[in-house]
Symmetry: C2
Subunit: 157 residues, 2 copies
């Protein structure tokens, strides 16, 4: 992970569809060098994939919400089963397994508030392992799609 790798990662996060030639031109290296670097990054698992970002409204997903969930018992099997089945629901964008007060946080989308409500009642309330959940509608989201490598220094204190 030298400077060149970091730059490649930055450029591909910004625009994953630019050509290898264009990438090489911006980096000031030969296309073959660039291609080999990208392959090595992919082989090492640093680059996990390339995804188009789609406007949620166009996917009939005009409403977003965060749902914090508590389940019981807190056994491995209950957590795994809940995580796997909930992440397969089409409304669910992300499932976060948390430490602390809540066990899960679900980032969900729906066509509108009626559909969100129906999702909560039909898909969550029915589950026996859920002992409580709390829903917060999302007014707005700011998403950083380009992440830099954090400096590799020790924390203070």
């Amino acid at each position: 992970m030298d400077e060149l790798d970091s730059e490649i990662i930055r450029l591909l996060q910004t625009d994953a569809r630019q050509s290898n030639r264009e990438l090489a031109r911006q980096l000031g290296v030969a296309p073959s060098t660039c291609l080999e670097r990208v392959r090595a990054l992919t082989r090492r698992g640093v680059i996990r994939g390339y995804h188009a970002e789609i406007e949620l409204g166009a996917l009939n997903r005009g409403v977003q919400a965060m749902v914090s969930v508590q389940v019981r018992p807190l056994s491995r099997s209950v957590i795994t089963t809940f995580k796997d089945s909930v992440s397969r629901l089409p409304e669910v964008l992300s499932v976060f397994v948390l430490a602390g007060g809540d066990d899960f946080l679900l980032h969900v989308t729906a066509q509108d508030l009626d559909h969100l409500h129906a999702f909560l009642l039909d898909r969550l309330s029915q589950r026996k392992e859920i002992v409580g959940f709390r829903t917060s509608v999302i007014f707005q989201r700011v998403h950083n799609t380009v992440l830099s490598r954090l400096p590799d220094v020790a924390a203070e204190g």
Copy 2:
């Protein structure tokens, strides 16, 4: 947004770097047709961009957390200023503006727990508009990178 558009969106969410030819082949249409559809989707803002997905550990971001934040006063200027400045911090992946008990939810990353702690103390605790925040470390995340269009039907009830 017909069936062909939906399929293009699905395929580009799965792999944004596949060639237009390959896309066309999978859809059973001519490459020129596919190219024109992709352009139209981009022009209409349905396709917002193409991003490489990078392994967070490679970016020195081995620890993730969710931070729920309450700010006061709840004025437009306080909310906007907070949202804008926090979203510019390198540790912050997403800022969610919420309805309900908490005002914001921050998805943050850090090199380790020490750095996360330092971030909370140095970047959040210092802010005068924050009247409280609660941090939950993320054990695990399941992320759906391919989203289908939700069915366009009325909710029950």
